[in-house]
């Protein structure tokens, strides 16, 4: 049992040699804060990487069986014509429905694009999306990270309106690489600015910025039609036969996450893609996208999906976002290994630091230990005293470390460091999550406290086994 008396004595003994204890506490504080900040960075990197992947892939993609194994060469051969029914089924499902943020679709296809103005052409990879759904997907941010869309560097690219617009079905966006290949004027922003300058000011009653932007685009579209570069998309129908062609105009030029994609990407309204690939037919898509409110719900949703598939209610195959982007797991594994390695090294150093401090203290207090034993303190009592002293060192160092880490979080987050993370497609603000990931504080602080107690075990044991008369004669 630990009485207040024991705590008082241990506390006073810790600060008996103020300088030595302060040095130890500062060492613990710095180690603890460093570890927490690193963990906070890792936590941010995980969440940021997750968000960056999810806004591109969504959580789950559903496709016709065989699409993932054999569809790469001819994705449209695996098109789904029952998108509406599947969406309804998912939304009505008692398990999946409440967890859904969005169900949408995309069509991936290949073909040849040509730009007659420059007499250039190239193969392309087409991506058809529902423009407004694509915008919703891009805004998924459950971890309340600084949204990349809010960063000035990205605003220049995204503006405040979706990449595509349902009101502009002819407008497509292409990758910068593809623009270079085709020699399409990559300075589309300049084009936009010229139009902006000649555009009437938005009417004052439109308070919603997105709505305002959309309506601006509507007025703008007529004007831009003639100014925008026009490209021709040419696709062979999945079943063979005469290729089908379609004219689109370039709305914007975008940087795509990978070089390959950037060199080939054409993004357009999914309904236009369907018309191009399946002329005269109802809407067909190659994948259905499922976005959840939170990633943590994914296992439940996957399990339910398996049930639906096994029960014959759904005839689809599916992939989760981590399967679609294996990079995420590689990243997290690497960071976990780094964190574990650092944690071990730092904890070992802390253990040695506290061990050394306590051992020195004990060596100086041998007659005192003898006195306490003579007065009737048991071996366990002596052990307790030194365990408590170790605990206090860990407690103070750890608490100060936590405070320092929180201060560090505020500093790092206010620096506003912006970069394109590995595997990312747009600028992201570097952050560390300390207060937003309290589990890190608990684990690091708890770990340090345990390490402190652990490092006190051996010196405390030694002190408790001292021979009383030798200690008194010391």
């Amino acid at each position: 049992m630990i009485a207040f008396q024991d705590l008082k004595l241990a506390y006073r003994n810790v600060f008996r040699n103020t300088r030595r204890s302060l040095v130890t506490i500062i060492a613990i504080m710095l180690s603890c804060a460093g570890l927490i900040l690193f963990a906070g960075y890792v936590a941010w990197a995980f969440k940021s990487a997750e968000a960056q992947a999810v806004v591109i892939f969504s959580h789950l993609q559903l496709a016709r069986p065989g699409f993932y194994e054999k569809g790469a060469g001819n994705p449209t051969a695996y098109a789904i014509d029952s998108y509406g029914q599947i969406k309804q089924l998912l939304q009505d499902d008692a398990v999946i429905g409440p967890k859904l943020q969005l169900v949408s679709a995309q069509t991936v296809f290949k073909g040849i694009v040509s730009y007659s103005a420059a007499h250039t052409s190239s193969t392309f990879v087409g991506l058809g999306v529902f423009p407004e759904d694509d915008w919703t997907l891009l805004h998924w941010n459950p971890y309340k990270l600084t949204s990349p869309l809010d960063l000035p560097v990205n605003k220049a690219v995204y503006g405040s309106a979706p990449e595509l617009s349902s009101n502009d079905p002819e407008g497509a966006t292409i990758g910068i690489g593809l623009a270079n290949v085709l020699q399409v004027n990559p300075d589309a922003k300049v084009l936009d600015k010229q139009i902006n300058a000649s555009r009437p000011a938005p009417s004052p009653q439109q308070s919603d910025p997105d709505l305002a932007a959309l309506s601006q685009e509507v007025t703008q579209e007529a004007a831009t039609q003639t100014l925008r570069p026009t490209i021709e998309l040419l696709c062979a129908p999945p079943g063979g036969g005469m290729p089908n062609a379609m004219t689109m105009s370039v709305r914007k030029i975008f940087n795509r996450p990978t070089k390959e994609l950037d060199n080939q990407s054409v993004k357009l309204d999914i309904r236009r893609a369907s018309e191009l690939l399946f002329p005269g037919e109802e809407l067909k898509v190659t994948s259905i996208l499922v976005l959840l409110k939170q990633t943590a719900d994914l296992p439940v949703v996957v399990a339910r999906l398996r049930e639906l598939i096994a029960g014959g209610k759904l005839d689809v195959d599916f992939r989760t976002w981590t399967e679609l982007r294996p990079f995420y797991n590689q990243l997290t594994q690497m960071f976990r290994a780094m964190f574990t390695f650092m944690f071990c090294i730092i904890v070992v150093i802390v253990i040695f630091t506290i061990y050394n401090t306590l051992s020195t203290g004990i060596a100086e207090r041998i007659p005192e230990i003898g006195t306490l034993r003579a007065m009737g303190v048991t071996r366990a009592g002596i052990r307790k005293t030194f365990l408590l002293e170790g605990m206090f060192l860990g407690l103070f160092g750890g608490l100060l470390g936590v405070l320092l880490a929180i201060a560090g979080e505020l500093v790092v987050n206010s620096l506003g460091v912006v970069y394109v993370p590995p595997g990312g497609s747009f600028y992201t603000k570097l952050e560390v999550l300390v207060l937003r990931a309290p589990i890190i504080l608990v684990v690091c602080f708890g770990g340090f406290l345990l390490a402190a107690l652990f490092s006190a075990i051996f010196p405390a044991h030694r002190a408790s086994r001292m021979i009383i008369v030798d200690a008194l004669r010391h």
Binding site: A3, Q5, L9, R12, N13, R16, P367, E368, G370, T371, L372, R373, A374, M375, G376, V377, T378, R379, A380, G381, I468, V469, L472, R473
Partner: protein, 247 residues
Amino acid sequence: MSTETVASPVGASPLVVLKGVRKEYHLGKTIVVALREITLSIERGFFAAIAGPSGSGKTTLLNIIGCLDDPTAGKVFIAGQDVAEYSDNELSHFRAHKLGFIFQSFNLIPVLNVYENIEYPLRLNGTPRKNLKERTWELIEAVGLTAQSKQRPNQLSGGQRQRVAVARALVTRPDLVLADEPTANLDSETGEKVLHLMKQMRDRLGTTFLFSTHDTMMVGHADQHFTMRDGTLVQTKNGNGSAASSL
């Protein structure tokens, strides 16, 4: 006054009995014999002294009586109990309740103030919380340190420190207080005063005292005194007309 408290009840057994106590220390291959077959007894309420030159075995003898060390051979009985039968934890408990210690270099707890130092043994032996204050203050006043109660040991003079030690040793009302050369680190006048205080406390509380000294001047205060040389008792005297130990 003193003869009243000193006189032990007729037929009561002595508080301390040593029978053939021998103590050897092994230093590598050489054996140092610190005590050679010591047999003695000390009556309850006695103010007893052990005199002898440095190295004669006084500390060793007090340590054995104080249950801090065990003899190589022989028996130690305190209040009739063979202490060799006690485990380490039982000995700790025994010391906390029945014994008090006063050391040559005071050995106060430096991080505790006067009040806390004196209160410490009471907390250790589980004295009810409500009695702590009263009993601590009683001793602080008895040794005359009321004004210094909030001071830490390093703010006190040697004589004051030893008075704290006397109070600390007595606060639990032990049966026996062992004081190993309590005056050796004090000038002779202060030493006299401390010894006088100890004896005064014996008169007041009836506690048995056994103190050692290498200064033969000090033994004049004792009811009973032993003289040691090279680990043997060379002389046992009962002074002040008190009951003689039956050796």
